[in-house]
């Protein structure tokens, strides 16, 4: 298999968009272009089941990614875990596609006997370690997120430590939303290492709007500019649907 680049959008938000396109639709648009959308919902301690959480799950479902709701404290570990799991998920999707090409229509990794499954998993692990990765990080900096931003910042530095411990190359870029003139605001252009964001979150526009959908749309644009070959082809069936 040719090794390309895994592309992800990592959205960190507390939910409840209120401007522009439906974020789930924009996530689906990303998925169509081989970009998985993962969402981390940072919630308040007293916030429970509401439309915000629903939105977070829908975005990830539509974007072929993973969502996870966390309290601010567990953010660091969650960010790296979600990114990792999403990588594995994408890789497995591609491998299952290959398996189907070889073995016939309905074979996936899970239909193999345990011994063979173990072998396939080694390949998945190997790819997860060596594949190149591009993550566009989208941080919701609307007023309700303000108190969480120092933790978000720490979590992103931590993500950088984790991913840069891999053998594959990484590229990160960082956008916040809402922006001043556009939906988003560029905080950091594509760079292999997140190590200098200590100051970026200081210049925040905390207005009342949360244009999550338009922000995802703009995030998609950042990828085409990097002109890299995608790990996924434009065939969305790579995401297999079996539950595990």
């Amino acid at each position: 298999m040719k090794k390309g680049t895994l592309k992800q959008i990592l959205l960190i938000t507390d939910g409840c968009s209120n401007q522009g396109e439906d974020p789930a639709a924009m996530a689906a648009l990303a998925k169509e272009q081989g970009i998985a959308v993962n969402v981390i919902g940072v919630i308040h301690d007293h916030q429970s089941d509401d439309s915000g959480i629903r939105e977070i799950e829908d975005i990830a479902l539509a974007g072929g990614g993973i969502s996870q709701i966390v309290h601010t404290k567990q953010l660091s570990q969650t960010v790296q875990m979600v990114t990792r799991q999403a990588m594995t998920q994408t890789i497995k999707g591609v491998i299952n596609q290959e398996l189907q090409n070889i073995l016939g229509d309905h074979e996936t990794m899970e239909d193999l006997p345990p011994e063979k499954r173990g072998k396939v998993m080694e390949v998945v692990d190997e790819l997860g370690e060596t594949v190149d990765l591009e993550v566009c990080i989208l941080v919701d900096t609307s007023a309700s997120m303000k108190s969480k931003l120092p933790t978000v910042q720490e979590a992103l530095l931590d993500l950088s430590i984790s991913l840069n411990s891999r053998m594959g190359n990484n590229q990160f870029c960082l956008y916040s939303f809402p922006g001043k003139r556009h939906a988003t605001n560029k905080l950091m252009a594509w760079t292999p290492q997140i190590d200098s964001i200590s100051s970026v979150f200081t210049k925040l526009a905390s207005g009342g709007i949360t244009p999550t959908g338009p922000a995802i749309r703009e995030a998609i644009q950042t990828f085409s500019k990097t002109s890299r070959r995608s790990f996924l082809s434009d065939d969305e069936s790579f995401y297999e649907e079996s539950g595990y």
């Binding site: 993973i66 979600v82 799991q85 173990g118 692990d125 411990s165 539950g243 595990y244």
Partner: protein, 321 residues
């Protein structure tokens, strides 16, 4: 649905439930639940080969990864490193494929519990055992990864430390995917998460830090300084400061070196904590007073030193070697 892969339902099996593997046809009868964690649930079960631990994972690829690791560990010569692996299979229940594996049931007390009832001295002895096993693992080109008390058990009889959860075992040179903040070098700012022996040795030192205070704590602003200061000022840790600092700052490239120096340090230190093993030779009141007056009377030192050393040699003979 993939999105919920992190939130799959817990499996909940009643005692007596029969589980039969789809591929290998072996049967297991559930006795009781041994414990469950973020990744899955482990049951004690009857099998034709005797009692076994059966693990059901929420995430099937996690299970496959763990099985791969257990197979690798089994290839390492000498005392078993992880639980021995007996069977890997799928169980078809309610139209669902649930993957599981059966492994050796390790009877004993989880390290967390053990540390609650035993003194810090035991933590040091167990650490010396652990370092020996880590040395063997590292020589095979792997590291443990998610090294923490929850993943260790003190087996009975024999008080030998054994590994429970090997899901974090990682090839040297690859990235550590599973870790726990308090025991993680990256969290404290002492380095990356690329697997090297130093990564495990950092965690090993942190197990002692945890054992001494029986608690985890969070990092503060200057996390590196905070940790080193904590060790320096802690009454149980200060005598091990040299070894711990070296482990934490990545000065040991081999578990064996850390083990040797820890062993030597423990042999040399007769701290008040080590003395309580030594009830029969507790110095008389008069002697204690004299000692206090002279700060550290050499006689008492000698008597205690000899006894402590003797006792340790005995312990080491019995449990470590």
């Amino acid at each position: 649905m993939m999105n919920h892969s992190m939130k799959n339902q817990d499996i909940n099996l009643a005692s007596g439930t029969m589980i039969t593997g789809k591929w290998h046809g072996k049967s297991y009868q559930v006795i009781k639940c041994l414990g469950s964690g973020a990744q899955g649930t482990v049951y004690l079960a009857h099998s034709p080969a005797g009692r076994v631990a059966v693990k059901f994972s929420k995430d099937r690829s996690q299970a496959t990864t763990e099985v791969n690791v257990l197979k690798e560990l089994q290839k390492v010569q000498g005392e078993p490193l992880g639980p021995s692996l007996y069977d890997v299979d799928d169980w078809v229940a309610r139209g669902r494929n649930i993957s599981f594996y059966a492994m050796e049931y390790i009877r004993g007390l989880p390290l967390v519990e053990y540390l609650k009832v035993k003194g810090f001295d035991w933590a040091c002895i167990l650490m010396i055992q652990l370092l020996k096993d880590l040395e063997r693992l590292h020589r095979e080109g792997w590291i443990f990864g998610d090294l923490k008390p929850e993943n260790l058990i003190v087996s009975e009889p024999g008080f030998r430390i054994r590994w429970l959860d090997v899901g974090g075992v990682t090839l040297i040179g690859r990235s550590v995917k599973e870790y726990t903040e308090f025991f993680d070098r990256g969290y404290w700012g002492f380095g990356h998460r690329k697997a090297d022996p130093q990564y495990d040795l950092f965690a090993a030192a942190m197990i002692l830090v945890y054992a001494a205070g029986r608690k985890r704590f969070e990092k503060q602003q200057d996390s590196k300084k905070q940790l080193l200061e904590y060790i320096k000022n802690h009454k149980r840790l200060s005598s091990l400061q040299t070894v711990l600092n070296k482990a934490i700052t990545g000065k040991y490239t081999r578990a064996k070196d850390m083990r040797d120096e820890l062993l030597q340090q423990i042999n040399e230190t007769s701290s008040p904590q080590t003395r309580y093993y030594n009830k029969p030779v507790k110095p008389s009141r008069k002697m204690q007073q004299k000692r206090r007056r002279r700060k550290r009377g050499w006689m008492a030192m000698l008597v205690l030193g000899v006894f402590a050393a003797g006792l340790y040699i005995l312990y080491l003979k019995l449990y470590v070697m």
